[in-house]
């Protein structure tokens, strides 16, 4: 049974329709890559899942709960964790405070997050605004983990980062997959890294799901056809 399930979801930005028929499934412990060129509706899909954008049509379920009826904070409490595009840490709080502010009881606590990202331990008293881009990204992931989610959504988690930092982030995501069994919906442009970590892939084009299947099959013409790779 799917943990997260979107069926023919549509959404609008004011009068403009951004999503037409988006369908995707993420099962427990599965990593699904949400792919597509720029402006095809990946972040809009994330915003719809997290109720930052109203659902105009279709079905949106998380663990059997109809997300359309839930406010954003309730969806998060059910176990949806978001690492938003652009990190969006709380700039006036320190690293430790950012993590405490989001904390909910469960497996993930400050110690475990610091084990995953030792740099956060080193910077624990530093304000989030003073961190480098990579450190802010680690903090954004750590903050999402502190909510003890069942499904983690990573929206462009490695965008704009130095290659060495990206490697560190991918390594952490790999650890999350293999050691914690967390379900992950990941959006990223790095096909190579996605191929290494994702089990399934969903491709969006103009706000519509145009392909879904095993990640291993993305190489067989899908990437050329829909992603321009």
């Amino acid at each position: 049974m799917s943990l997260l399930s979107l069926t023919n979801v549509s959404a609008f930005y004011g009068p403009s329709q951004a999503l037409f028929k988006v369908s995707l499934r993420v099962a427990e412990g599965q990593v699904v890559a949400l792919m597509g060129r720029n402006g095809m509706g990946k972040t809009t899909t994330v915003k719809t899942i997290f109720r930052m954008l109203p659902v105009a049509g279709g079905e949106l379920l998380f663990d059997g709960h109809d997300l359309r009826r839930l406010a954003s904070h309730r969806a998060a409490k059910l176990g949806l964790g978001l690492v938003p595009e652009g990190r969006r840490c709380f700039p006036n709080l320190t690293v430790e405070e950012n993590l405490i502010a989001a904390a909910r009881p469960g497996h993930w606590d400050f110690k475990r997050v610091a084990q995953l990202f030792p740099r956060l331990e080193e910077r624990r008293s530093q304000s989030a605004a003073s961190l480098s881009g990579g450190e802010q990204q680690m903090l954004a992931i750590g903050r999402a983990l502190m909510t003890n989610p069942r499904l983690l959504v990573l929206d462009e988690a490695t965008e704009g980062l130095a290659p060495i930092v990206r490697q560190e982030i991918w390594k952490a995501i790999g650890t999350l997959k293999h050691e914690s069994g967390l379900a992950i919906l990941v959006i990223d442009k790095s096909l190579k890294e996605l191929a290494r970590i994702a089990d399934e892939a969903v491709v969006l084009q103009r706000g519509e799901t145009v392909w879904h299947g095993p990640m291993a099959d993305v190489g067989n013409g899908v990437a050329e056809q829909y992603l321009g790779v």
Partner: protein, 327 residues
């Protein structure tokens, strides 16, 4: 130890030492002036929780200050006239006991803050300011038209209320009570700011949408801090009425709300000791400049303008540098 902590310690000790000196020098007026600083600082600490931590610009905090004041006035006036407050369905007598009065003041303010907050927090920005102001003015006009408790003339209490084991008529003993309460509330305020609740509230002040995605409901956090803030300001109101042995609708006026906000802005918004520094500066100006000119508020206005334009961290921000979220 940070510069701010050092400054706070100096301020706290100075505020404690000055009335002790005045007591030794037999200057009771100076003790009363210090008590006034402490009580107004307490009201400011209450507002600072909502304003500094929650980002809630409330222009209706005089409502809680006045409710606290009237809680004291009503209970004490019934006690001094030996008439019950209520006879049906059960008898409620007045009281001269400070702890009981404080409890009533805090509970009444909490209930008022719950109602005002629950409605006002559905709005934000200028609408929030206007709604809180409107609630404050509603209570102000209600007090004016309430002849049973003095109406526009207010209520006088002949003897200060009592506290077990202390002589509250002795200015220094009453000061010590107020100072101890301020200390306890500052401690609570610091603990609250550093707690997961305070941090989440601070994060919600920076951005509502982001905190919702980590499972935090900003409305509930803001309502909770608004109620706590109202309770503290209500307690300050009860003490203020006891200090003056008088309560009047002016405690509920929008000017009072403005003055409480001035303490916070002058001292430093979101600084733990900001309202203490602000209230101290305000009373100093009132005392010094008020002796020179009847129009001393002009100078206060100029100072406030200077703080807003050039020293946005207030007195503490200017002296202790960047920071502030009750750090």
């Amino acid at each position: 130890m940070t510069r701010e902590t050092l400054f706070n310690a100096v301020l706290g000790l100075g505020l404690f030492a000055f009335p002790l000196w005045a007591w030794w020098a037999e200057e009771p007026f100076m003790i009363t002036l210090s008590t006034r600083v402490v009580i107004l600082a307490l009201a400011g600490v209450g507002l600072n929780l909502a304003l500094g931590l929650g980002g809630l610009v409330s222009l209706g905090h005089a409502a809680f200050f006045g409710i606290g004041g009237y809680a004291m006035g009503i209970l004490a006036s019934h006690a001094q006239s030996y008439t019950p407050l209520m006879e049906f369905p059960f008898v409620i007598e007045g009281t001269k006991s400070m702890p009981v009065i404080w409890l009533v003041a805090v509970v009444a303010s909490a209930l008022a803050a719950l109602v005002i907050g629950a409605l006002s927090l559905r709005t934000s920005g200028v609408y929030f300011i206007m709604i809180t102001l409107a609630f404050g003015q509603m209570l102000f006009y209600f007090a004016i038209s309430w002849p049973a408790y003095g109406g526009e003339d207010g209520l006088s209490i002949y003897v200060r209320n009592s506290f077990p084991g202390l002589n509250t008529l002795d200015p220094i003993q009453f000061f010590l009570i107020c100072y101890a309460i301020l200390g306890a509330v500052l401690l609570l305020s610091a603990r609250l700011a550093a707690s997961p609740f305070g941090l989440a509230l601070n994060a919600a002040r920076q951005t509502s949408e982001r905190v919702e995605t980590v499972g935090i409901r900003p409305y509930r956090l803001r309502l909770t801090v608004f109620v706590i803030s109202g309770m503290i300001t209500g307690l300050a109101g009860a003490l203020f009425a006891d200090l003056n042995r008088f309560v009047s609708p002016s405690m509920l006026s929008w000017q009072t709300s403005g003055e409480i906000m001035v303490f916070v802005i002058l001292g430093g918004v979101a600084r733990l000791f900001g309202p203490v520094a602000g209230a101290l500066l305000f009373i100093l100006l009132e005392h010094v400049l008020g002796g020179l000119s009847e129009y001393w508020h002009i100078y206060l206005g100029l100072l406030l303008l200077g703080v807003v334009l050039f020293a946005r961290g207030g007195v503490i921000g200017t002296l202790a540098g960047q920071g502030g979220k009750h750090g």
